[in-house]
């Protein structure tokens, strides 16, 4: 089954086209690297796929659901890692994860175990009870990664997942966000050397909103 299928996708902000005629077919379990300069529409594409932005035109299907009309069908099946960690600064890491776990309907009895596992996986057990406002950008990113995979999503939409992470942090993140376990991934990156080897397809976006899809060259 195609996890993502786009035909002639457009997204405009007023007069300016952020995405123009984007076409793409990504099968379940495949990884897509999205490349392009600043302002090329990479984050916009991710937000459209995450159902957070409505397409201005064209056709978009994500996990079999037609966007935007059937967006409700894919909520809870997507893990979205953006520039913002989507964490409340006045709550601590554990409280934030507990909040997201409840919003995603994780069984009350399973929440603490899942959170402890993820915090250990990103090396955040010791700082999990500190308020997010008191954490460094790298630690917030580690917590955001936990939030992104907390509900075991089928599709990961990752916007520069390595931002703010040190070398050990990148390795830990790879365990949770890597291509294994049949998950479909869309990774926006400015670091093609790191992500191209694990990508099945590459989408290059240009500043004028146009897109070019190729099979990954370095795989």
């Amino acid at each position: 089954m195609n996890a993502i299928e786009l035909r002639g996708l457009r997204r405009e902000y007023g007069e300016r086209a952020a995405l123009r005629d984007v076409g793409l077919r990504l099968e379940a379990g495949e990884s897509l690297a999205v490349l392009g300069p600043n302002g090329a529409g990479k984050t916009t594409l991710l937000r459209v796929l995450a159902t957070l932005l409505r397409p201005s035109g064209g056709e978009a299907r994500v996990l079999g659901a037609r966007l935007p009309d059937e967006a409700w069908k894919v909520r809870g099946r997507i893990g979205f890692l953006s520039h913002e960690p989507l964490l409340y600064r006045d709550l601590n890491g554990r409280e934030n994860l507990r909040f997201h776990a409840r919003l995603h309907g994780i069984e009350r009895g399973a929440i603490e175990e899942r959170i402890s596992f993820l915090l250990a996986a990103v090396g955040m057990e010791r700082r999990a009870d500190d308020r997010v406002a008191e954490l460094s950008a790298g630690m917030r990113q580690r917590l955001a990664i936990c939030r992104c995979v907390l509900h075991e999503p089928e599709l990961l939409l990752l916007d520069e997942p390595d931002s703010h992470l040190d070398a050990p942090g990148r390795e830990l993140a790879r365990e949770l966000l890597g291509p294994g376990e049949g998950r479909t991934r869309v990774v926006v990156t400015h670091d093609p050397e790191r992500f191209l080897p694990e990508a099945d397809k590459v989408l290059r976006l240009a500043v004028d909103g146009s897109a070019e899809l190729t099979e990954a060259a370095l795989r």
């Binding site: 299928e5 409505r54 079999g64 037609r66 913002e84 960690p85 409340y88 600064r89 919003l103």
Partner: protein
């Protein structure tokens, strides 16, 4: 398109679970930071002091007492209303909630409940101060509590709706009161109409009290239903 029949949608999380999670998060954050309630209470008490010296009166009754009390509470409420969705806007809460398999009206209900809780706590603090400053007797406080609770419910519904619209504007501190105050006119008429006889000189009276309570209840119902009906659309991009 080849993906005609995708896997079934994630089951929607029960609204009560989402409601409790969002409300609990908001109350926990407020208890930890005290960003809204102390400012609201301080504003209200300061306003009473200004009225006391500005009017040069140690006792108020009837329509003047009702007007001073309600206007002060309404403007103090605006401080809380302005901040109601700030964390959602600035810390990505809107995105997180829109990504979750929940009925978004749970967000409206939880925010309105949080605002209602702020208003009730505010009144528990400042109405006794008002009574000390301006009232000769505390006999009206019990029926006054009923009026204020009904008025708070309407203000919470309207305030939540307006706050969710204004928070995306750079002029949100200006926009929220500009839109809210005209909408609160019927609420203000009914609230002061019910409070006025309660604070009458010589003790509480109940002239048309039931009518004003019914108007307050109707206002609450209308704005709760409007909020339920339109809130989902307000969260779209």
């Amino acid at each position: 398109m080849t993906a005609e029949a995708g896997p079934p949608a994630t089951p929607v999380v029960p609204s009560t679970v989402a409601f409790r999670a969002i409300l609990g998060k908001d109350l926990r954050a407020e208890l930890r930071t005290l960003q809204s309630l102390p400012a609201m209470a301080l504003f209200a008490v300061t306003t009473f002091v200004i009225f006391r010296f500005g009017l040069d009166r140690t006792s108020l009754s009837g329509d003047l007492a009702a007007g001073v009390l309600w206007a002060t509470l309404l403007f103090a409420a605006i401080l809380g209303i302005n901040r109601l969705f700030v964390a959602e806007r600035e810390e990505g809460g809107f995105d997180a909630i829109r990504l979750a398999p929940i009925d978004r009206t749970a967000l409206f209900a939880a925010k309105a409940a949080a605002l209602l809780a702020y208003l009730v706590v505010l009144e528990l603090v400042v109405v006794p101060v008002f009574a000390i400053f301006f009232l000769d007797s505390a006999a009206a406080l019990a029926p006054l509590a009923l009026v204020l609770l009904l008025a708070d419910l309407g203000l919470a519904a309207t305030g939540t709706l307006i706050s969710s619209m204004a928070v995306n504007s750079r002029a949100r501190d200006l926009l929220a009161p500009l839109v809210l105050l005209p909408l609160a006119v019927p609420l203000s008429i009914a609230a002061t109409g019910a409070i006025e006889p309660l604070l009458a000189l010589g003790g509480p009276g109940y002239h048309r009290f039931g009518t004003w309570l019914a108007v307050l209840g109707l206002y609450d119902l209308v704005f709760l239903l409007v909020g339920y009906a339109v809130f989902d659309f307000l969260l779209e991009d």
